[in-house]
Symmetry: C2
Subunit: 581 residues, 2 copies
């Protein structure tokens, strides 16, 4: 029968490397079967149990260190436990050789060129160290996890004001000026820039780009929660702005888990106006399309890399379908902000671009309506529709965007489908055209067998009349072939002559709508400038320091200890004293 002995050390701090090495050393002692050295969180206690290492009577909480040894007898297990302090001392002796600054401010004096502070101390101390780094006007790479969302928001807000980046918390990786931070693969330098709320996502994409023969300009990690509503994508927006201004970057790749809807809208609005092709891979997110203007939506990490490589090599800026202006150069003091979200050339028939006027979508085809609705909602914000959510069929005037599928069941009881009979849609069209709040009417015209024999004969006069009365735009999505009975070229010509902007693909029509209706986007805070080269201060895992040196970066390791030796009550007292000072 095996027996388990244990010891609890309350509130004492050891870094994770020390704990790992202690566990290994204990497990390797003669007569010991297995050992566990963990912080006593519920999850860790479960893992101990799975390994037959959970002592029945241990009273330990998440802030306590629990050391457990399993051996053939209790005496043997306890003997092993008796060696813990000797094993810890052996480790310490091996490490404490060279002189190392004990504080961040001392480290900054030792390496004044340091533009970055890498932080990988345990989560509960990490926000404090990051605050110190920001006070010293350094960018922060915050590897630590288990940092609260409130701390993350506060840190990022102050960083934004100061034109500094907080990459993280829980930021595993970055590649800055060719040097990998944290976990990072060695990849070629090149013209593809990344902003990623995803550590191994960034690694998978950069390695695949490398495998395909291209390279990376800058790869900026943001931490996995940056695109949550509480954070608002602060670091992502800063990173996008930075890459838009970076002359080395030709294509931008954006990676995240599915972001908050409003944050998505904001991030994609900035991406739309950045003047470079942007590949978007929001995992688990239904994309608004495959390509809308300069935005290219990928369905996997591998595809994100493949699209980026294709765009980086094509020699074009990717904005061929009427994309936005070339990006502002780095000399602009305010970076990309403020900038009209439309970004593109003024809309053909002069609709307002002040974002205060609305869309009316009047569709005959349900799927076309659905594709337009999904695409526009992602990029433009909420749209009322009978295709989902509310049923605003009877609305005469809406205070916002409205898109109707007039072929929906509720409209076709005893009535011909709107592809056959234009009457209902013409009535809705005239009302929308007369509504001073409506800036743009988006509609489909579907040709073919079974459909109305000459839709343009009814729509062209209605469109001409609408444009004569008011400055409204009419965008038509025309579906058909030249072999259709109505004749695609004839219908297209007649609708265009009436003043409609005619497209044959949903995404091209949506790009037109977005150019006209996107609200202006303003980026608060100061623009970020990356330091030249890489000089950095590392607080926490030594392997990150060693990796910086191995990559020929300048680096200083701080011999960090938690405030008050990790004693929680003392820390709280110190914090209060500091706040008063």
């Amino acid at each position: 029968m095996s027996e388990v002995a244990f010891e609890v050390r309350r509130g004492a701090y050891y870094d994770s490397v020390v704990l790992m090495q202690l566990q290994r050393a204990l497990a390797e002692l003669p007569l010991v079967e297995d050992a566990g050295v963990v912080m006593a969180t519920p999850s860790n206690l479960e893992l101990l149990q799975q390994n037959s290492l959970l002592p029945g009577q241990a009273q330990a909480g998440p802030d306590d260190l629990l050391i457990v040894v399993r051996a053939g007898s209790l005496v043997e297990a306890q003997a092993a436990l008796g060696q813990v302090d000797a094993l810890l001392a052996r480790r310490r002796a091996a490490v404490d050789q060279a002189y190392r600054p004990r504080s961040l401010s001392a480290a900054v004096k030792q390496l004044p060129a340091a533009g970055w502070v890498l932080i990988s101390v345990p989560g509960r101390y990490a926000a404090g160290v990051a605050r110190e780094a920001l006070d010293l006007k350094r960018h922060v790479f915050l590897y630590s996890d288990n940092v609260s969302l409130e701390d993350e928001a506060a840190l990022k807000q102050s960083a934004r004001e100061a034109g500094l980046l907080v990459m993280g918390p829980d930021c595993g990786t970055a590649v800055l000026n060719g040097v990998g931070f944290g976990f990072a693969n060695r990849v070629r330098r090149g013209n593809i820039g990344l902003v990623a709320a995803s550590g191994t996502g960034l690694q998978a994409v950069t390695t695949h780009i490398h495998r395909l023969g291209r390279g990376i300009s800058q790869a900026i990690g943001t931490g996995g929660r940056d695109l949550k509503a509480e954070i608002g994508g602060i670091t992502t927006l800063q990173g996008l702005d930075l890459l838009a201004r970076d002359p080395e970057t030709r294509v931008v790749v954006l990676i995240s888990k599915p972001p908050d809807a409003q944050v998505t809208q904001r991030v994609l609005a900035l991406a739309r106006s950045c003047g470079k092709p942007v590949v978007v891979q929001f995992m688990g997110f239904a994309p608004p399309g495959s390509r809308i203007g300069n935005l290219h939506f990928a369905a996997s990490l591998a595809q994100a890399a493949e699209l980026a490589v294709g765009l980086a090599g094509a020699g074009s800026n990717g904005g061929a379908r009427g994309g936005p202006d070339p990006v502002a150069d780095g000399s602009s003091a305010a970076g990309m902000a403020p900038r009209a979200g439309s970004g593109g050339p003024p809309a053909a028939s002069g609709a307002s671009t002040n974002g205060r006027r609305y869309l009316r979508g009047l569709f005959a085809g349900g799927t076309l309506a659905g594709e337009a609705l999904r695409g526009l909602q992602t990029l433009l914000g909420p749209i009322e529709s009978n295709l989902g959510g509310s049923q605003p069929a009877g609305r005469q005037a809406s205070p916002g965007h409205l898109l109707l599928d007039l072929g929906g069941d509720e409209f076709t009881v005893g009535r011909l489908h709107p592809m056959l009979d234009n009457d209902l849609r013409l009535r809705q069209f005239r009302q929308a055209a007369a509504d001073p709040e409506v800036a743009l009417i988006l509609m489909d015209v579907v040709l073919g067998e079974g459909a109305h024999p000459d839709p343009a004969s009814e729509w062209a006069p209605a469109i001409s009349e609408a444009l004569r009365q008011r400055s409204v735009e009419v965008v038509v999505l025309l579906v058909g072939t030249e072999a259709d009975p109505q004749g695609l070229p004839q219908q297209r010509q007649r609708l265009a002559q009436a003043g409609a902007a005619v497209y044959e693909e949903t995404e091209a029509a949506l790009e037109h709508v977005l150019r006209s209706l996107s609200p202006e986007l303003e980026l608060p805070g100061a623009p970020v400038t990356l330091p030249n080269g890489v000089a950095a201060i590392n607080v926490g895992l030594e392997s990150f320091y060693e990796s910086l040196l191995a990559q020929s970066a300048q680096a200083v390791q701080v011999d960090w200890r938690p405030p008050a030796g990790g004693d929680e009550r003392m820390m709280a007292l110190l914090e209060r004293m500091r706040a008063k000072a």
Copy 2:
């Protein structure tokens, strides 16, 4: 002041064309300002109100016809109403010229070759007509909407037993043997086949394929609700099976709104085993990847067409990454069913393919874990994970698939990240390898700066040991470059020599997992055979009949009247008498 006069006709049947023409004729009468002729549904009453046509005191329900005229005075409006019967009679005289069968059975005698019945009568009569057509052993194209989900399920179930298709209800379009049904564009014939639960979606994709210079073999509409749980994708599965057996079809395109999760799994399992590249565009659906085996996921209708055209021209069957067997030819009596869902070559290390053994995913990278989880859940069904839903961290044995992100916050309190320290993951790996319910272990190994200096040195022995003890598969997703300190080729070689299947892209690894773990798929019912050529019977909208003739198809128009002249009580009585007979 304008005045409104109205008339209600209860339970009388007129087809939609008659109603449209009556409304136009009334509106064109001298002194009339506007007119409305509608079934008095709530939605239609709202539309009347928008056009100042809603009479205050009308008592009319959804089955009643409401005729409204607005004129300068009540007398003038009433005078116009007085002409309704004369206007209706004028219309009837213009139509009733040629001899037309009054019933479906008479029409079938007139055109015995008719393989199809097109039905576009009002929704409440449509299921009855469709049942009659199925009894006569004809395929059904059911344009009518407002048919209940229960009727749809019952119709499709009986059709499936008889090897017949019910395309619809609310099926707007199809292209069969080069002839467009309902609303359909004239497009080139070719080698791309479609199955679409989406009318204008099918039209947009077929026209874009035509525009890109390629053509259509068969385009099968299913009705918009076919992939709902209540219907189970019956017509979609039949259509896929049919296109898989069709020698003219080289590439298949599947279009739908986001389907029910279980239906998605079933449909994609059949698609995976069909031996041809399948382009999938499920709108508003987060795709499980960009390409998994022979499945290619599109993010828009336009992209679906573009992918299909690329695959149709490539001269390959698209299954290059280890795709399934060539499709069975049409001579197989049971069509594609039953067929092992795996479809591919037997898995390298001989795991069971009986679908009764499970996956363990043990990841160090959260994003890689997330990408694998999403992809596999879509195609394989529910997977427990700490990345969403339940938190099964402490589970030792699971009755199903389990995938863990061991880099998650709950695992890293006081512990090094699993990219640095393999201890926790090695323990989990050994447990999984010893679990007789586990057929396959999927894991990542991430190289690079900051990561473990030689992960293969710890993993290769563990993998060898696991494979020596049991028939379990180990699939490794390896992320790194040849420039990484650990050396990608060296790590790959060592892991592969230990017996792991090593991939460098998530989707390739997922394809391996699916080949090993996909359950067998059985298609109930009889396989569908399409008739040669097109001969059809049309019940409802005459324009569909005319369009068939214009396309040189053989067609008969039924001079259809609702049972009992549309009287609901009489219809119910007749139905009961019929059920007894």
